[in-house]
């Protein structure tokens, strides 16, 4: 059985992404616990120049080919699978992001390996690799034993701190020659910049975030009113955008924006990992949800168990009352 721990690095617009450093930190712990080597894999032209940014790894494998410049899961799987099959690492860690999604599954089926998705933590327990996974929108935790010799593990972003490596020049680098057939059936054409919204939610100190618990577009009005009273803006989780209640430019989370307001008032948001990924930098998170078990309460600083539709007008009245008192006083 292989013993090395591999991490597939993700680059976006020339930068190694935050989630890669998180995966490297987790990989480092695993490698140390099992006296194994931590190997980071970097793909695309110029990979060798960036290898030192992954200084917490013992070895960086660089796959340099123009066809790997854009993160296309099908192409990455084709490039990685012979290498994984040949070297048999114990596991390959892949952060689950909009760029990478699908690579974990393709790499696993191509190499005949098992895949475990939605991992939040990995540990060596009595010599065996165990994964703690967050499933069902964050409502259930599952612990799985990961069989070998090789397994592919999909990691939730944002569930652990990133490695704070400043980069050392001592990391060993190995450039792997690679040749892929030129004509892929999936061909990258271009990037499309985000549409500019009426409101830039990344610039607001106060965000009133709405989720499925709002039930209906009509109920946006009291949320807008609260945002106005608090001097902030309204944003939302994926379902509110998919329903067309809010424009794409107001979406917070994996597919949307990352926000760092001083106050994040989450109304009727359950707190699925995809959403929380975009909120982890908020100063104060206050969550309102009818379900006391909702995962958002694990992240929020203050929680209120209530129906947002009932609470919004009461809260608006309370804020107005205080403001009135302040202006009179």
């Amino acid at each position: 059985m292989g013993s090395d721990i591999w991490v597939v690095a993700e680059q976006w617009q020339g930068q190694i992404s935050e989630v890669t450093h998180e995966a490297v930190a987790l990989g480092r712990e695993l490698a140390d616990a099992s006296q194994a080597k931590l190997v980071a894999v970097l793909l695309g032209r110029g990979a060798g120049d960036r290898a030192e940014l992954l200084g917490d790894a013992d070895l960086v494998l660089c796959l340099e080919d123009p066809s790997l410049d854009e993160f296309v899961p099908a192409v990455y799987a084709e490039a990685l699978s012979p290498l994984v099959a040949d070297r048999e690492p114990r596991c390959v860690l892949i952060p689950l992001t909009n760029l990478s999604l699908g690579l974990e599954t393709l790499l696993a089926v191509r190499t005949g390996a098992p895949v475990v998705n939605f991992c939040a933590d990995l540990q060596i327990v009595e010599g065996r690799l165990e994964a703690r996974c967050v499933v069902y929108g964050g409502k259930i935790e599952a612990t799985l034993q990961v069989p070998g010799p090789t397994a592919v593990l999909g990691l939730w972003p944002g569930v652990r701190p990133a490695a704070s490596s400043t980069g050392t020049s001592e990391v060993e680098v190995e450039v792997i020659p690679i040749s892929l057939p030129e004509a892929s059936k999936v061909r990258f054409e271009e990037h499309v910049e985000p549409e500019v919204g009426d409101v830039d939610i990344t610039r607001h100190d106060v965000l009133v975030a709405v989720g499925r618990g709002l039930m209906d577009e009509e109920n946006l009005a009291p949320a807008e009113e609260l945002a106005k009273l608090l001097g902030g803006a309204v944003c939302g989780s994926r379902p509110t955008i998919d329903q067309g209640w809010l424009p794409l430019s107001r979406q917070v989370g994996k597919s949307g924006l990352t926000v760092k307001p001083k106050l994040y008032l989450a109304l009727g948001i359950s707190g699925a990992p995809e959403h929380m990924e975009g909120v982890r930098g908020a100063g104060l998170i206050v969550a309102v949800n009818t379900d006391r078990q909702a995962p958002i309460f694990q992240v929020a600083h203050y929680g209120i168990v209530a129906d947002v539709l009932d609470l919004m007008p009461e809260l608006a009245a309370a804020i107005e009352g205080r403001k009135g008192a302040a202006s009179r006083g």
Partner: protein
């Protein structure tokens, strides 16, 4: 243009989830099953493509509790054909689902679509995502996290837009047939009144196909040791009381922090 939409039923997580007595899964008698959310988006995208280019939409799924309701709803929305595959066991994982459906698609001459759409992922896809699994079995190209599909007249190529980080999108050209994992359709999934679903139940039928007998060549499966609800690391401090009282308490906290 023949489009196949692969659907999967998942537990409704809006309801309280109950664990089975052995702690190895959900209590299946207590769980309400609904259509996977992004599968509903995939169905909508397929119906939009049919409206634009003509052709047929077929929905396909492994048999599961409450599946018939979802299939009749798809027919009522405008799908032309609904097929369910029975006999693949009780609640197989996604890897097994992909292997079974892939074999069915290889076998059935009446199921040779130009395009296969399914949801980008499901909340219980612990052992892999369905779209790349199907693509692998069928030897077709795959792209996921898709938010828009447009097809050229010949139905040989599609322009596919997927989401990237930070609100960016990326456009790809994809040879057809292909398997795409849909994150969201261009429009919210259409609403279908119950009366139309009932009418579909009376006038249309669901075709039944047997699951292939041979499973996928054995892959060491991850062993589920335990399922549990997250410990109430509920770090949130709950504000208790009437709506008026909790509103006052929250105002107190916010003004204490200079946020009001």
């Amino acid at each position: 243009m023949d489009i196949l939409v692969v659907l999967k039923m998942v537990p409704d997580i809006v309801e309280e989830l109950t664990l089975a007595a052995d702690g190895r899964g959900l209590d299946r008698d207590q769980v309400r099953m609904i259509l996977n959310e992004s599968d509903d988006q995939a169905l909508e995208e397929a119906l939009l493509l049919k409206e634009r280019h003509g052709g047929k939409v077929t929905v396909l799924a492994l048999d599961a509790p409450e599946l018939d309701d979802a299939l009749f709803a798809a027919l009522a929305k405008g799908a032309d054909r609904a097929v369910k595959v029975a006999g693949a066991g009780d609640g197989p994982g996604t890897r097994q689902t992909g292997a079974v459906l892939g074999q069915v698609l290889e076998r059935e001459q009446g199921l040779k679509p130009d395009l296969i759409l399914t949801g980008v992922q499901a909340i219980d896809d612990l052992d892999g995502l369905l779209a790349p699994l199907l693509a692998h079995v069928l030897g077709l190209p795959y792209l996921g996290v898709v938010v828009r599909v447009s097809v050229d007249g010949s139905a040989r190529k599609a322009t596919v837009t997927k989401e990237c980080p930070a609100g960016f999108q990326a456009r790809f050209e994809v040879d057809l047939p292909a398997v795409l994992g849909i994150l969201s359709a261009e429009n919210p999934p259409r609403y279908v009144p119950v009366s139309k679903v009932r009418a579909a139940m009376k006038s249309q039928t669901i075709e039944l196909l047997p699951a292939p007998s041979a499973g996928e060549a054995a892959v060491a499966a991850p062993k589920l040791l335990e399922m549990k609800k997250p410990e109430e690391a509920a770090q949130a401090e709950f504000l208790e009381g009437s709506l008026e009282e909790v509103s006052e308490k929250l105002c107190e906290i916010l003004s204490g922090r200079g946020l009001m």
